[in-house]
Symmetry: C2
Subunit: 144 residues, 2 copies
Amino acid sequence: MPADSSALGGLNDILGLHIRRAHGAVQRHFTERFADLGLTQKQVSVLWLASDHPGIAQTDLARTLDMDRATTMAIVHALEKRELLERTKSASDARRVALALTAEGRALLRDAQAAIGEHERWLKERFTGPELATLTEMLRRIYR
Amino acid sequence: MPADSSALGGLNDILGLHIRRAHGAVQRHFTERFADLGLTQKQVSVLWLASDHPGIAQTDLARTLDMDRATTMAIVHALEKRELLERTKSASDARRVALALTAEGRALLRDAQAAIGEHERWLKERFTGPELATLTEMLRRIYR
DNA sequence: TCAAGTTTGTATGTGTTACGTACAATTATT
DNA sequence: AATAATTGTACGTAACACATACAAACTTGA
């Protein structure tokens, strides 16, 4: 049985497939490393953003991370249930909910950021500095 | 004030996030374009591979596309239920199932490949030839 | 100002993908 | 022949994404 590239045949020219497989590999590595922390990529991103922008609303999260509002809700809800996030009504706009980390959330985010550091080191170690800049810029072109 | 990069803050240096967002953008565009065909990326990949390698087994599919055996089953099953794929027992190994496209499957794959062509053109139009080669090679480094 | 439209959060449901576990049948190994 | 490994299968669980519908709060523009 031919290993990889020959077996793929015409699929080898499909950029979308390469992106999907790279994403899959990263996702898998992340999941392994974060099993004990019990956090997903999305959850870490949301905690991180809420920490950087205290009082941020769900809509802002959704916009910044390119997520559906319904999807955002599910993630925020899960974090609230674990008492990592707190929700208070916005003073300026009663529709909005201001998100903030609890002390527990801050502590867990610190651990998560350390773990992310290792994870990113694993991911980035295959690239030189200039390569990394090139890759990032190209990926950004894709999602605008 | 630049909309995205400033809001992302420290998250901006996370390569994993860029990969995830690029993947999300590609996935979204794909889903839109393939709504009428009723095929997902994974389903197209499986049809494509089965077409290139008649008699391929589920395990080979899983290995080639980096999928779980259980996940592969779900996809193959869905394609079989729609009568796009046929399964026959392998002559050389009674455990294996040989997959093959039906006439309907071949016809749909042809349409899908045309649609993939457009989709890939949309994706690739933001890169020059050499850039494309560089990007592909870098992505391949990630999933080995 | 007030009626109409928009934004925000919420609730509900569906579908896809991923993965874990366990099991039976078959083939390989020792 | 006994044991191990492979293959397909059948569960179950979980994360996301998205669609739709709705209420409450804000914005608008006539």
